[in-house]
Amino acid sequence: MTAAVAFENVARHFGSVRAVDGVTLDIAPGEFFAMLGPSGSGKTTCLRLIAGFEQPSSGSVRLFGEDVSQVPPWRRPVNTVFQDYALFPHLNVIDNVAFGLKIAGQGRAERTRAAEAALEMVALPGYGARKPAQLSGGQRQRVALARALVNKPRVLLLDEPLGALDLKLREAMQEELRGLQRNLGITFVFVTHDQGEALSMADRVAVFNDGRIVQVGRPEDIYYRPAVPFVADFVGSSNVLPAALTGQGRPGAVRPEAVRIVAEGGVPATVTAVSFLGAATRVTAEAAGTRLTALLPCGAARPAVGDSVRLGWDAADLHLMGAA
C-alpha cells in the first residue's frame, strides 16, 4: 500500500541549524501518527514540511506516492490545525469554517450547510455568527478542527492542538479526536511534546531528538522497549541505567516497580528520598552517580533516607538499549 506520507532522507536546514536532519518515515493511510519530542527536536518542522510551509533542503516528501517537494501548500490535499488555531479574526465562525470551501468555489448556501454540519461534528452547533474573539480556547480549537475537516483532507495535521487547553478539556478532546479519526478514517499526523498524549492517542509514535527520529513504533514499544536512553528518559518514568550499572556493556532501562531492595548482589546505592504513596512507597536512591527510583509494594521494609542499600532487579525486567 502506498504510504499517506513518506519522508525520504529529508533534511531542512536554517543556516547552520539542522532543524530536520535526515528523516525517513512512512505513515500509513488511516493511521493516527504522533510526532513526539522536546521543543526544537524537529517535529514541528516535519509537520510544516508535510503542509508545505517549509521546503526540504534535501530529500523528498511524498503524499500518497506523489512527490510534493515542489508543490505549494494550497495545492496539497492536507489541512492543518494550528497551534494558535490561526482563526481569521475578521470573519465569523461560519465564514472561518467555510473559508476553504469558498476558495474552492462552492456557492454560499452549499458551503454554509457544510460548515454548519462540520460545526455540529465538533459539538459547536449554533455558534456560526460569533467572532473568534468571543469564543473560549476550547471552542476555538474546535472551530479550527472543523475548518480543517470540512475540506475533507486526505491527511490532517495537528500542531500541538491541545497545548493551550486546561487539563480536563485536554483529556476530553483527546478522546474526541481519537473517535473523530476512527469515524472519518483520515490520516492524522499529530505533533506533541506530551508523551502521555502521544502514547494514549496514537497508533504509532515517532520520537524526535535533534532533528532526527530516534525511534518509531507502537506506544507499547516506545514505552516498554525504548531503543535508546533518550527515549526511555523522555517517554517514561523508567530508570535509565548506564552501561556500567547493567553489567552488559550496553545501557538499559528498568521500570521502578521492578526494582527491589535485595540482601546481596544488585548495585549499592544510598537512599536520598522516601515517599509514601499509599499503595506503594517510592524510594529514590543514588547508585554510582545515577538516580534510581524504586516502587516498593506496601508491606515491604521501608529504608530511611541515608541508608545504604542494594538495589536489584530480574534480568527479564532489564531492557537493554542502543548506546546513542
Binding site: G52, P73, V78, T80, F88, P89, H90, I103
Partner: protein, 307 residues
C-alpha cells in the same frame, strides 16, 4: 506598621482612594486644548463661512448668509475643488500601492538591524524640512534634472517628451506638470501611509497567512481575503493622512506643478492677499466635509471592523 506619609505620599494615597480624580486631572489639559482651542477655532472657521464680504468696502458683514457658499459653487471654484479631490485620491491610491509592500516587508520579514533601518528610512524624510525636500524635488524634476538626465542616458528622452505632451498630466517639464505635483505629494506623505499599515500588519500573526494557504488560497486570494481586510484599518488611517494633507496643502502646488490652484492655495490666497476670509473659510470647510464623508463611507464598508 504604617509610617506618617510625606506630602507627595499623602497625595498619592489620595489619588489611590479616588482614581477618577487623577484621571480627571490628567485629562483636563488635553480636553481644554481640544475643546476650546481646537474645536473652538474650527467652529469659528465654520461660522466665518456663513458670513459674506461687502464687494465694495471689502469688509466682512456679520450676518448669516449662504452667499459665500453660492460663490464657492461657481465653476472656477468647483474646478479647484475637483482638481484637489482628484489629486488627493490619486496620491492616496499611489501611496497605498507603494507603502503596502514596504510595510509588509517591515512587518513580516525585517528583524533587528533591518527593522531599525526600516524605521530610519521611513522616518528620516519626516525630520528634514518640508521646504528643503520640495525644492530638492524641483531640481530632480527640472528639465535638466536627474530624471531628464537618466532618460537622456537611456536614449528615452522622446518617451519623456511624449508623456509631457499629454494634456492634463504633462507640461514643459516634470517640475511644472501635474505629474510632478503628484510625485512630490506621494513622496512627502508616504511615511504617513507606511507606518499605520505596518502597525496593522504587525498585528497579523504569520500563521493566518499560512492558514489561508493551507485552506487552498493562492497568495493573491490570501491577500484579498485575509491580509487586505486585516490591514484595512491601517490603510484607512494612512489614507486619512495622505488624503487630508493633500487636500489642505498649499506649498507643493505652488512650487511644483502648473499654476492651477488647489484648495489649500485658494484658502491661503483668499484669506491673505484677497482678504476674503468668508470665502477662505468656505473653502476650508470643504476638506472637513469630504473627510467626514470619507470616514462615514469607510466605516460603512467595515474598514474598522478588524480594529
Amino acid at each position: 506598621m504604617t509610617t506618617a506619609p510625606s506630602f507627595v505620599g499623602r497625595l498619592s494615597d489620595g489619588f489611590w482612594r479616588r482614581p477618577r480624580l487623577l484621571l480627571f486631572l490628567l485629562l483636563l489639559p488635553p480636553l481644554l486644548w481640544l475643546g476650546i482651542i481646537y474645536l473652538g477655532s474650527l467652529f469659528a472657521l465654520l461660522a466665518q463661512s456663513f458670513f459674506s464680504i461687502d464687494q465694495f468696502s471689502g469688509v466682512v458683514k456679520h450676518e448669516l448668509t449662504l452667499d459665500t457658499y453660492a460663490e464657492l459653487g461657481r465653476p472656477a471654484n468647483l474646478d479647484i475643488i475637483w482638481r484637489t479631490v482628484l489629486m488627493a485620491a490619486l496620491v492616496t491610491v499611489a501611496s497605498v500601492a507603494v507603502a503596502f509592500p514596504i510595510a509588509y516587508y517591515a512587518a513580516r520579514y525585517a528583524k533587528g538591524r533591518w527593522k531599525a533601518l526600516f524605521y530610519l528610512g521611513a522616518m528620516v524624510p519626516l525630520w528634514s524640512s518640508y521646504l528643503v525636500k520640495v525644492y530638492a524635488w524641483k531640481l530632480i524634476l527640472a528639465k535638466e534634472g536627474i530624471i531628464g538626465w537618466i532618460f537622456a542616458k537611456l536614449h528615452l528622452t522622446p518617451l519623456l517628451e511624449g508623456y509631457l505632451a499629454i494634456p492634463g498630466v504633462g507640461g514643459n517639464s516634470l517640475s511644472v506638470s501635474p505629474t510632478g505635483t503628484f510625485i512630490v505629494f506621494v513622496y512627502v506623505w508616504l511615511p504617513y501611509m507606511i507606518l499605520p499599515i505596518q502597525a496593522a500588519l504587525e498585528r497579523v500573526p504569520p500563521s493566518l497567512v499560512e492558514a489561508a494557504g493551507d485552506l487552498g488560497a493562492t497568495p493573491a486570494q490570501t491577500f484579498r481575503s485575509v491580509l487586505w481586510p486585516l490591514a484595512l484599518p491601517g490603510v484607512v488611517a494612512g489614507s486619512i493622512f495622505t488624503f487630508s494633507l493633500t487636500l489642505g496643502d498649499y506649498i507643493i502646488p505652488q512650487i511644483i506643478g502648473t499654476s492651477a490652484r488647489f484648495i489649500g492655495l485658494a484658502v491661503y490666497q483668499y484669506q491673505g492677499t484677497a482678504g476674503n476670509v468668508p470665502l477662505a473659510a468656505a473653502f476650508a470647510v470643504v476638506p472637513v466635509v469630504i473627510m467626514g464623508l470619507y470616514l462615514t463611507v469607510a466605516k460603512r464598508m467595515g474598514a474598522f471592523d478588524a480594529l
